[in-house]
Symmetry: C2
Subunit: 440 residues, 2 copies
């Protein structure tokens, strides 16, 4: 059962092309420097806003090698990017990825609160614990935080940041020129946080926005990741290959949230998809076949290394059994790395077969004519597979297929909005404004 009547719709922008879209930079529609061209992001955000999307979503990373994917190599820092987009849009939400592993909570709180005020209450924070182990070297650490510390920091960081966001009661600034009263001192509150990972006195030097606080996004499929999401997330970015898998994930997350005393309807599950839409189902499937074809194999082989700390898989025989890797990945994307090792072991897969499965797993469940795709999205939504979708966007005309051909069908059926409900992100999601813990 759907918990809500209308889909949450997000657009994920990768500039020159993200996962499953590595060759899209070759499209004549995409400027070669799209990943660092703010005009590109503004135009894409405006395209999504014209289609009444809830939010745009910006991913991030801080560690690169010469072999990193194109959109990792050269990219704008997410909040700097989103602040520029904020002043050329009016309703769409602005969700930025910021790691709790290598940022002070005070700086996170300040920058996100600034974006929230600049956008009039449209900011979202995708909370991540850094996976790439190599990132440590860019922040003066010999070794990346272990798994427990990473998740401990993430949880505590969010609590500190949310505490700082309530530093001022909502009526702390009377700004009464006649009486000459700018500020009511009694409505400023320090935090005095002392925890395992952070000590922060506060107060933060910025007031709350019209939506109270930025919306908390989270991703992460491990047990710890799900638990963190159930504790803190108001929206969860995930991946889903089948409707059954998606329903199971959402059911689990809602149960975990309820067990923590939260309203499950205040945890929106929003998986990411790259739909392939063409005039007919046959055409769409032909495009898909071409996409997952041979020329992506080398790229997929390289990307397989990421969860293992960018391990180099080109050194192995493709047709020999999947190599023994010891504890490679223990300090990177552990769950993902362990999942791949387990899969290979249980099915006796060769390296080539593992790579092929990773390519197949990127196949979109939404491939076909506009009607087919609309039907499938409705089926998933009504089955309780998601509260909405994050559409991966690279080529504008492909995104327009979704907004101009699929969305009108969903609107007609009443499951996609025709107008914004609010000028804030919470307002459009239907999430309540969090009470200020310091309000009396």
């Amino acid at each position: 059962m759907a918990a809500r009547k209308q889909l949450v719709l997000g657009a994920v922008f990768y500039g020159v092309g993200g996962p499953g879209q590595h060759h899209t930079w070759l499209s004549p529609e995409i400027p070669g420097d799209a990943s660092v061209d703010i005009r590109w992001y503004i135009a894409r955000a405006q395209q999504a806003e014209a289609a009444k999307f809830d939010h745009i979503f910006i991913v991030d990373s801080q560690f690169i090698t010469p072999d990193s994917p194109n959109h990792y190599l050269n990219r704008l820092e997410p909040l700097t990017l989103l602040s520029a987009v904020a002043v050329h849009t009016t309703n769409i939400g602005l969700v930025g990825t910021l790691t709790t592993s290598y940022n002070d909570p005070f700086n996170l709180a300040r920058r996100l609160a600034s974006l929230d005020l600049i956008s009039g209450g449209r900011a979202g924070w995708n909370v991540v614990a850094t996976g790439d182990g190599g990132t440590a070297g860019n922040y003066g650490r010999k070794e990346h935080y272990d798994y427990a510390a990473r998740y401990g920091r993430a949880l505590e960081s969010v609590k500190v940041v949310q505490g700082l966001w309530d530093s001022y009661e909502d009526d702390a600034f009377p700004r009464d020129k006649e009486r000459g009263v700018f500020f009511d001192k009694s409505k400023q509150h320090p935090l005095h946080h002392v925890g395992e990972h952070f000590q922060v006195v506060g107060p933060l030097n910025i007031e709350r926005s019209p939506q109270g606080q930025p919306v908390i996004f989270q991703a992460g499929d491990s047990d710890e990741g799900r638990d963190l999401g159930a504790s803190i997330a108001e929206a969860i970015f995930t991946h889903a290959a089948t409707v059954e898998q998606a329903v199971a994930f959402r059911t689990d997350l809602r149960a975990r949230a309820a067990a923590k005393g939260r309203d499950p309807d205040h945890v929106l599950i929003v998986p990411g998809f790259n739909p392939i839409i063409a005039d007919t189902d046959e055409e769409a499937r032909a495009i898909e076949a071409e996409r997952v074809g041979g020329k992506d194999f080398d790229r997929a082989l390289k990307e397989l290394g990421r969860p293992f700390g960018w391990h180099d898989f080109t050194q192995y025989d493709l047709d020999a059994p999947f190599p023994e890797l010891g504890d490679a990945g223990a300090r990177s994307f552990k769950t993902q790395a362990e999942g791949i090792k387990k899969l290979a072991r249980e099915h006796n897969l060769t390296l080539r077969q593992v790579v092929q499965r990773s390519i197949d797993s990127q196949r979109s469940p939404f491939v076909g004519s506009p009607l087919t795709v609309a039907n499938e999205i409705q089926r998933w939504f009504e089955a309780g597979a998601f509260d909405g979708l994050n559409i991966g966007v690279a080529v504008p005309s492909e995104f327009a297929r979704f907004t101009d051909q699929v969305l009108p069908i969903l609107r007609e059926r009443g499951i996609a909005r025709t107008e914004y409900a609010s000028t804030t992100l919470r307002g459009n999601y239907g999430l309540p404004v969090p009470a200020n813990v310091n309000a009396r």
Copy 2:
């Protein structure tokens, strides 16, 4: 002698009013929430850009108490602010204050490089070592860094950040769609910095901008501050009460820069001023008299505490000798605190007299009719007192007095520009694009 033919012109925005402007928020021209209203900053930047100013300048701080000045209490984070301004302006430089005391160099490098690309090469970084000792508590430290560590971190941080900015050679991204070549791996360079305060492997995940690297600003009047400025600064924000003092400061800084093997003409000295301009000299002086009048005394008494770690001076008898303070301020604004103590001791001043001197020291040397102010600015410039001015701006109509009445006189005399020379900040300053250390 002036090293350049035309003045550098900067505008310093404090939102609801900065030093010497604490009551300006009462002006009907200023929205009560100006400090957190991005539309206010965009409009002010556009006003400065219409007058062909070189840059806008945003100050910062991270520590507040209930007694902090209005513009400290509630403000936007500088880079988030400037990114939004960048996409509503085209030529004006965007200088933001960011502390090296409580930011990782990797994050500083990334965010500043992002602003530099978003603005097409108009970013400037005002490098500060945090003075307010209380800031430590917001970043998990029991005690603020001592003076040596603060300046050591600042110097090393700038070197690391500049190193990271050169991670890519300028032709690292061919983006050749025909040949399918996005990136030339051989042109990505890690940093492998190992220093006293920081270890940073790199590379940074962002390319250089049209101006090569953001311009480095610095402030700080202590011996260590001047030495740091002479080492790293391309522009220096300072204060000057008399032309003699200003000439001495500039002469000293140029000599220090030359002693370090730098071209002194590449270190622009740009002090801050709040000019008071009226139709006649008499009217301007009347406005000044009102400004430095009685109602600012309490504010000045409170602000006197800042260099001493926000020491509370209201507890003392105003007419008794300046109190013994021990080492208060040793971990805050040491030079300023020591200077005040020395002044009081040498002249046997009471607390009231010290406060009055601090009010007087904020008196602007540029007070009078447009012609008087233009004459004075020209006299200082030709005496070698500065390479240009940072005009403190709160009330728009007062700023317009400068742009519309003083500037035309300076333009006629050939010492202020009539058109922008460039779309980059370096281009307008006449500073060279720094060579990429990794270029072959």
